[in-house]
Chain length 102, copies 2
DNA sequence: AGTCATTGCGCAATGG
DNA sequence: CCCATTGCGCAATGAC
């Protein structure tokens, strides 16, 4: 079963093995590096995500403030701009506290 | 040079090899699966990111609309509710009704 | 001392 | 034909 000297045993064979071994090492290095990169990508994306969520929170807050201002104004219009000559309403300050709970 | 019976060649040795090979396979499967999971995590995070950015865009738009409304209102106030004492005014009757096409 | 887990390495098959 | 990628086994080492 053992080819005595080998049609293909110890000549260019060895050479090819060597080369392949190198290729294998290289390939595996790359593969590993890629895994590392991917993991890092995850971290970056996570951070980005947090940034975005913070921004959303901020914008939402701003929005709700502005909306509240609008509502307040509308109420003022409805309550104040009605000075009917003859009716003593006397509603000095319409208590208005409607906060949006998100 | 060949230990005929081998102090440790074909007995529990084979058994141990077998076991180890199994363990190796298992470990590598896991490792590979983890890589896949990580990659998927990246995709999920990317999607999430896009969603968040869309939301930010929307909120920003809303905000700018509201802000514009405020500015407009402020201008109206400055122009109408300021009858400067001494200068012949312009519009005695506050022109109401901004945009109503019905 | 014993077991499984993880890792670097080489071989061979296979895919470009 | 050459390199790249992948499954597999071996052996050393790690961790418990």
């Amino acid at each position: 079963m053992k080819k005595p000297s080998g049609e293909k045993d110890s000549d260019e064979y060895r050479q090819r093995r060597e080369r392949n071994n190198l290729a294998v090492k290289k390939s595996r290095m790359r593969s590993k590096q890629k895994a590392v990169d991917t993991q890092q990508r995850v971290n970056e994306l996570k951070e980005e995500n947090e940034r975005l969520e913070a921004k959303i929170k901020l914008l939402s807050k701003e929005l709700s403030v502005l909306k509240d201002l609008f509502l307040e104004h509308a109420h003022n219009l409805a309550d104040n701009v009605q000075p009917p000559a003859g009716t003593e309403g006397s509603s000095p300050a319409p208590n208005n506290t409607s906060t949006n709970g998100q």
